[in-house]
Symmetry: C2
Subunit: 417 residues, 2 copies
């Protein structure tokens, strides 16, 4: 991408109401634009990050045998009445009427829709197990919405639903998804804790939350670094100095952002939607279900909360809108510009996610500051001085030392090490 063509305007100041660092930086880098309270547009840079994350999720869901679907946002009242959640959801459902005065809700989750869909397609144990997922917009009628993308009223979520003949099969799959979640968050540059929490109306069982530890988090997590014990404070009474019931080490309490959750649903929705199958002996049984969510926007914010410095964002490599930023220091020098252009053409082929700062009327200081704010993992800096050595400088955003490298080797550099 030529930087002169990119649709973005960085800002010196964050909005007054912004307190979260991720909100400030995503705004200042022009990744997002606020349309209303808790409602955001993704601009080209933000959407690139969003799509990179969606693709990571898609890969890991497919590796789990998940098949992608796309379910509607508008749900007839009837499906939410079947599960008895029309009036009980928290936060409440957004509701509306059509021209015929019929009631609809905007989906805040899709257990209802997918259970109904599955019920006409499952007949025998041979139809099980299976797992369906989507990456799709959800709507939650929150009263408070703060922190930029951390808590919004409209957001894109990956939701996976799995369907099993029995508890054992469900438990096996549940653990597989948990592993895939750790993998996804790792690829997104996050260390997370798997934390037991309450079911929040989705289930009566405890659920698993994946919590990224950061001071801005809304949840309090009690955990043990030694044995992996971790519970949300809402289900665990804790006083300073308490020891872990499992290994007797000292417990820690930190704030966390919930970046993912997995819910055992048992037969709650199967019963509401008559989702039954015949087992090997011809006996009718209810399907055992689970659901597994990741909010992509909140994940983006969390990554920024964890990966930033006073200059701006430091995107993990797989997530970054561009991996490499080509910055010619003296663009008006013929040889500098020619080399930069050549590297850009070459980089587009080999690395794809390359942006070339081709702007003539912007100072070098400003160019570097913008690159740092946008958080691009690598700069390739080309100047008269580097060219004297037939080289360019490769500088890493996360503060590791920069290095001179021969021009001909620049695009063969292993950016992923």
């Amino acid at each position: 991408m030529l930087q002169s063509k990119l649709f973005y305007k960085t800002k010196k100041l964050a909005p007054k109401e912004a307190t979260a660092i991720s909100h400030k930086l995503l705004y200042r880098g022009d990744f997002i634009d606020q349309l209303g309270s808790g409602i955001y547009s993704f601009l080209p840079l933000g959407w690139m990050v969003h799509q990179n994350i969606s693709n990571i999720i898609r890969q890991e869901m497919s590796a789990l045998g998940g098949q992608e679907v796309f379910l509607p946002a508008m749900h007839p009242r009837s499906v939410w009445q079947k599960s008895d959640r029309w009036d009980k959801m928290k936060p409440p459902l957004f509701k509306l009427k059509d021209s015929h005065k019929k009631d609809f809700a905007l989906g805040s989750t899709h257990e209802e829709v997918i259970s109904q869909l599955a019920s006409s397609r499952v007949a025998s144990y041979k139809d099980l197990p299976f797992a369906l997922f989507q990456i799709q917009s959800k709507f939650r009628n929150e009263i408070r919405y703060t922190g930029g993308l951390l808590r919004t009223r409209e957001f894109i979520m990956k939701d996976l639903y799995s369907f099993h003949a029995d508890q054992a099969d469900f438990e096996k799959y549940y653990e597989k998804v948990a592993k895939a979640y750790f993998k996804i968050f790792k690829r997104c540059g996050l260390k997370v804790l798997r934390v037991k929490a309450s079911g929040e109306g989705f289930t009566n069982d405890f659920t698993d939350e994946f919590q990224a530890i950061t001071p801005i988090g809304e949840d309090s997590i009690i955990y043990c670094e030694k044995c992996g014990f971790a519970k949300n404070k809402e289900i665990f009474e804790y006083n300073d100095g308490d020891k872990c019931p499992e290994c007797k080490s000292l417990l820690k309490k930190e704030r966390g952002i919930e970046v993912g959750n997995i819910f055992p649903l048992g037969d709650k929705y199967s019963k509401s939607f008559d989702l039954k199958f015949k087992d090997e002996l011809g006996k009718e049984k209810f399907v055992i279900m689970a659901s597994y969510g990741i909010g992509v926007g909140r994940l983006i914010s969390t990554i920024v909360e964890v990966h930033n410095d006073d200059k701006g964002i430091i995107w993990p490599k797989e997530v970054a809108p561009f991996l490499v930023h080509i910055v010619p220091v003296e663009i008006n020098d013929n040889k500098v510009e020619k080399t930069a252009k050549k590297l850009y053409d070459n980089g587009q082929e080999k690395i794809k996610r390359v942006i070339y700062d081709d702007r003539r009327n912007v100072s070098t200081g400003e160019k570097f500051a913008e690159s740092d704010l946008l958080g691009i993992p690598f700069k390739i800096i080309i100047s008269k001085k580097t060219l004297e050595k037939d080289s360019v400088e490769i500088e890493q955003r996360d503060g590791k030392k920069s290095q001179l490298i021969k021009i001909k080797d620049a695009m063969n550099f292993n950016f992923y090490v």
Copy 2:
């Protein structure tokens, strides 16, 4: 993909209310599931087709310099009041209130949101031109919704918006988009006419519709095969036997489905949202805009309307959920199964979009009938008889002759010729 794992159930019968052939076939092949009137879920097969088309569109939009964004579905009342369309949209907007009793609309289009967004990012002629697009859900409060995906109340649309300093630049880009549209529809297997039509409240100018000629279309198109003259009947008075005003050939009248449209918007939205720039002389001017839509679901239906026979769908190659269907005739024969499996492994690497019918308890007749209903362009048939000749049979869905080909050459076959 292993067919035994694919989430789908084909149906012998279409729903009673279905009249459009595309509705019947997409339902029978389990590409879609109806959640409510005019509201559909995309099941795995349908979503594969949807994503293939989205990717074609994405490629062609990027080739036009379009940058992808993602705008919210929920719009505050204020943006629709600025353009004076809050009460005037046809079909009407879906409206709802949040917990604070504030009014929102579900976007049926995004001129308002994108104009507001652009207005704080455009200052100078140097910021122009640019083009933004998204592939995102729209909501239209239609009173009638029929024909499966042909006319729905929630649907995914590609909408591109372009922004220009003057009329000449706009016109140049407008023609480039028209060319890209022809390319998109060609890749989707459709011949379309570019037809002049009325602005439908988007603009006072005439607009361009891209119409696929098929008897089920809602529009009447008057056109000349010789000179390219084509108008929607709504703006052209016509009687049988009339001649083309431009070349004096006999005009034809046919029914068409509008699969795409392009609207010159002039400065209508720029004025509403104060979207101005300073030209080279420092003079303030309003930005000239245009918008360009393609409804992906309607495009899917139209493709099926045009490409089907009495056995089912005949997907164009780029659009098909799978390009190749591996069907072993005698799967219980060890050598047949081994060959099929090997071809499948090989095909996954080389062709990617391959499905292998690994089901043991389904008759060959049923397997072939299903493959035809689902519309997969190529079958690779493996039987004891073909193996005697060290070969497999490659059969094309669109009725072209089948051919024997050596096993070792099967996956090097040029499926795209």
